[in-house]
């Protein structure tokens, strides 16, 4: 696009490449902050930082910032920088430009040991502060004797001291400051708490009943998936993705399939596209039902939880018949789907649609119209549109604040360009909007399924692939719309059967930083409900 070309012409020092709608801009570390600032505040504001990918190139370490612009969301800029210093790599921080960069930079620091200048919080994100080594470096030694299973909990002092580094008058200045002031009243939520939706550890500082500060602690389910992918073949990696965000596993798996198919320039049969889309939408309904039920349970309504799970079982039955699995459908494969649909599939799905519509009305009657529930949800937990974009809180959360970010509309994949559906948008950004938008999306998903289910074309259900899949050298990037936000896969391949580096953008990570922002000032009793309204899945954060 002309505007982007003009924008990128401002950086004579940068190495610019373009391929379709994606651009790659390589800058030296010294110019990074300046470039990022201009990209964020230029004529075309690249205000959505999708992800930061930490890279170990062998001789150098680097970072890739995937940027998108909310005005023209299908354009993606990959801003890259690298440093040769492997002993003490330093890269300027962009956390003052995009809020979401804060956690992403901590993640890169955790995995690769890169320190970000001027980032006020350079603790490790997932691993314990006393962990030795940086796992995503190629020379990392995974010997269990170096890092044995710990027998005691992490020291709270470690959790609270924030190291930072900056350069003043040409000299490195390292500082250590405390997260909480002396005498502050701190309550621990988790890591084992039934309502944190997984093993999330929140340290909450209170002033009476009012929340002053929330400090999330991750890593209690960090399984090192990104490191494991480096020694797994592409079909094997698919199984790990299912287990990351298990509620929208099928959708996330779709992203990996699409990325690999893009690399192989493979033609996927139309039948597979249709089936994939239907299965994805069924997964989305199941996920939203569970999210709805859990949020209601967080507010004390067990009945709603039982109702949500009851309807979800109908989808699980359909999955079980066609895919063979309940929760882990294991259905999408590279080139299509694992096997053909069950003869009863169409009939069962068609029976499910009117059933779900009827039940949606009941859900609204039971919970949405309930004055107690409305009283708890309305006017609480305001997230503005600008804040949502800056935090990168995509998906239903962003859409409830009025940010149009549906990847199914922005960059239609599979059969989404063939169907007619609305992107649900609300403008208030309150807890109630985040609640109701999920139920509205169930209705839209039903519409999509309705349009596709009778028109599944004949033909093969999967394209033939080679026994060993080798991805040609290069970088591949694929976005899909998961049930709780944008999920991205970044693959860097060296032409081998194993990828060189795989990075997943977790939609839930940004949702927790949104919780950090919206919880401040609200009552401690609402904290769990606010978390429920964001509907994050912790194993997806920790990977």
């Amino acid at each position: 696009m002309k505007v982007i070309d003009e924008l990128l012409a401002q950086f004579p020092y940068a190495d610019v490449e373009s391929k379709g709608k994606s651009y790659s801009v390589v800058v030296p570390p010294k110019k990074l902050h300046e470039t990022a600032f201009k990209l964020r505040n230029g004529i075309l504001a690249f205000d959505f930082l999708m992800d930061i990918v930490g890279m170990d190139y062998g001789d150098s370490l680097g970072t890739i910032y995937n940027l998108s612009c909310t005005q023209f969301p299908s354009y993606v800029i990959a801003l890259k920088t690298e440093t040769d210093d492997r002993k003490d790599p330093l890269i300027p921080s962009v956390s003052d430009i995009w809020e979401s960069a804060n956690l992403y930079e901590r993640e890169v620091h955790d995995f690769l040991g890169i320190r970000f200048l001027n980032n006020p919080d350079m603790r490790r994100l997932f691993l314990r502060q006393d962990w030795k080594g940086y796992p995503l470096r190629k020379e990392y030694d995974a010997n269990p004797e170096i890092n044995p299973v710990p027998l005691i909990n992490e020291n709270l002092d470690d959790m609270e001291s924030l190291p930072s580094i900056n350069i003043t008058a040409g000299e490195k200045v390292e500082k250590l400051h405390k997260l909480f002031e002396e005498g502050e009243y701190i309550v621990n939520f988790g890591p084992q708490h039934p309502a944190t939706h997984g093993v999330l550890h929140l340290r909450v500082s209170l002033d009476g009943e009012i929340i002053k500060k929330v400090d999330p602690n991750f890593g209690y389910i960090h399984r090192g998936i990104e490191k494991m992918t480096e020694s797994y073949t592409y079909p094997q990696i698919l199984h790990l993705i299912d287990r990351m965000d298990y509620l929208s596993g099928t959708i996330h798996r779709h992203a990996m399939c699409l990325a690999v198919e893009k690399g192989l320039e493979m033609e996927v049969p139309l039948r597979a596209h249709y089936i994939r889309t239907i299965i994805d939408e069924l997964t989305r309904i199941a996920s939203h039902l569970l999210g709805w039920g859990c949020m209601a349970m967080d507010m004390g309504s067990i009945t709603a939880f039982v109702y949500g799970m009851r309807d979800r079982e109908k989808i699980m039955d359909i999955f079980e018949e066609t895919c063979g699995g309940r929760l882990m459908a294991n259905y999408h494969v590279i080139g299509g789907v694992m096997n053909d649909i069950h003869p009863n599939f169409q009939r069962n799905v068609k029976n499910f649609i009117p059933y779900m519509r009827k039940m949606l009305k009941e859900h609204h009657l039971l919970f949405t119209g309930n004055p107690i529930a409305r009283g708890r949800m309305e006017g609480i937990g305001y997230l503005s549109k600008e804040m949502a974009i800056s935090l990168g809180a995509s998906g239903p959360t962003g859409r409830a604040s009025g940010w149009s970010n549906d990847v199914r509309k922005i960059e239609p994949y599979a059969a989404y360009r063939l169907v007619d559906f609305k992107e649900m948008l609300r403008s208030d950004g309150m807890t109630f909007d985040r609640y109701i938008i999920r139920l509205d999306e169930i209705e839209e998903s039903l519409k999509i399924i309705e349009q596709l289910i009778d028109n599944i074309p004949g033909g093969a259900y999967a394209a033939k692939t080679k026994a060993i899949i080798r991805l040609p050298e290069g970088e591949y990037f694929q976005r899909v719309e998961g049930a709780r936000g944008e999920f991205d896969v970044y693959i860097n391949s060296k032409g081998d059967k194993y990828p060189y580096r795989v990075k997943f953008r977790s939609p839930s990570l940004t949702l927790v930083s949104a919780l950090k922002a919206i919880a401040v000032g609200s009552k401690v009793a609402d904290l769990i409900m606010l978390g429920g309204s964001l509907d994050y899945v912790v194993p997806c954060i920790d990977r």
Binding site: F126, L127, R128, P135, Y140, A142, P144, E145, N147, P148, V149, P150, L151, I152, N153, E154, P191, Q192, H193, P194, G198, V199, G219, Y220, I221, H222, R223, G224, I225, K227, M228, S231, H239, L240, R243, Y246, L247, L290, F305, V306, M309, R310, R312, E313, M316, R326, L327, M328, V538, P539
Partner: protein, 214 residues
């Protein structure tokens, strides 16, 4: 903690030591119209215990969703008296270990287990809890919960279906039924269980294999 060939015994006639006195007593009671049956107190207690086991709500990942399905309407473990999920380990009888346990979580799980009151049981759900599952090549995964705490029942699957979980619960119920409540086996000494050496701890006739932490 191996249990083989379990059969749940009826009360045998020879089990009474002072039969004559008891029989006379019973005869007298029955003659006066009292309906009476005689049984061992252990059986009664274990019958009660095995049918009201309170699990701790503990789930780390995917298996937790199947655990939720187990609690919801279709599978409904309330039918077996297991539905009182406790949020505090101090009130729970059994910890359902659903999901991968990683290095950072290991001391937390250990502490939860230590906080539970005796008699306590552990069930490992899913391949991650059994041996690390699909993540056993990772640098941050504990290869099975039995490296940290002793396990009573293993339920394989990734994740196990709720039906399989019910089957696992039934196995634990059988195990509880044959225990002698007044002489429960002492829990193994966990401080040495978590040590780096590998040996077998014997306690009250029950053996527990411990792998030691690598």
């Amino acid at each position: 903690m191996e249990v083989k060939d379990i059969f749940i015994r009826d009360m045998k006639y020879e089990d009474f030591k002072e039969n004559e006195y008891l029989e006379g007593y019973l005869k007298e009671l029955r003659a006066n119209g009292v309906n009476i049956a005689v049984a061992k107190l252990d059986d009664l207690i274990n019958w009660g215990r095995s049918n009201s086991v309170w699990p701790l709500t503990f789930a780390t990942s995917c298996c937790g969703i199947e655990f939720m399905c187990l609690g919801a309407a279709r599978y409904d473990f309330a039918r077996f008296g297991w539905e009182v999920t406790r949020n505090s380990p101090r009130q729970a009888d059994v910890v359902f270990c659903c999901g991968t346990i990683v290095h950072k979580m290991a001391p937390v799980l250990k502490r939860l287990y230590d906080q539970m009151a005796e008699p306590k049981y552990v069930m490992a759900f899913g391949s991650c809890a059994i041996a690390g599952g699909p993540f056993n090549k990772s640098y941050h995964t504990v290869l099975g919960v039995n490296k940290i705490i002793p396990v009573d029942v293993y339920v394989p699957g990734c994740p196990p279906r709720p039906d399989a979980m019910i089957y696992g619960m039934m196995q634990l119920a059988r195990k509880i039924k044959i225990q002698e409540f007044f002489r429960l086996p002492k829990q193994p000494d966990l401080s040495c269980h978590c040590g780096l050496d590998s040996q077998t701890v014997e306690s009250n006739g029950e053996t527990l294999e411990k792998g030691g932490l690598q």
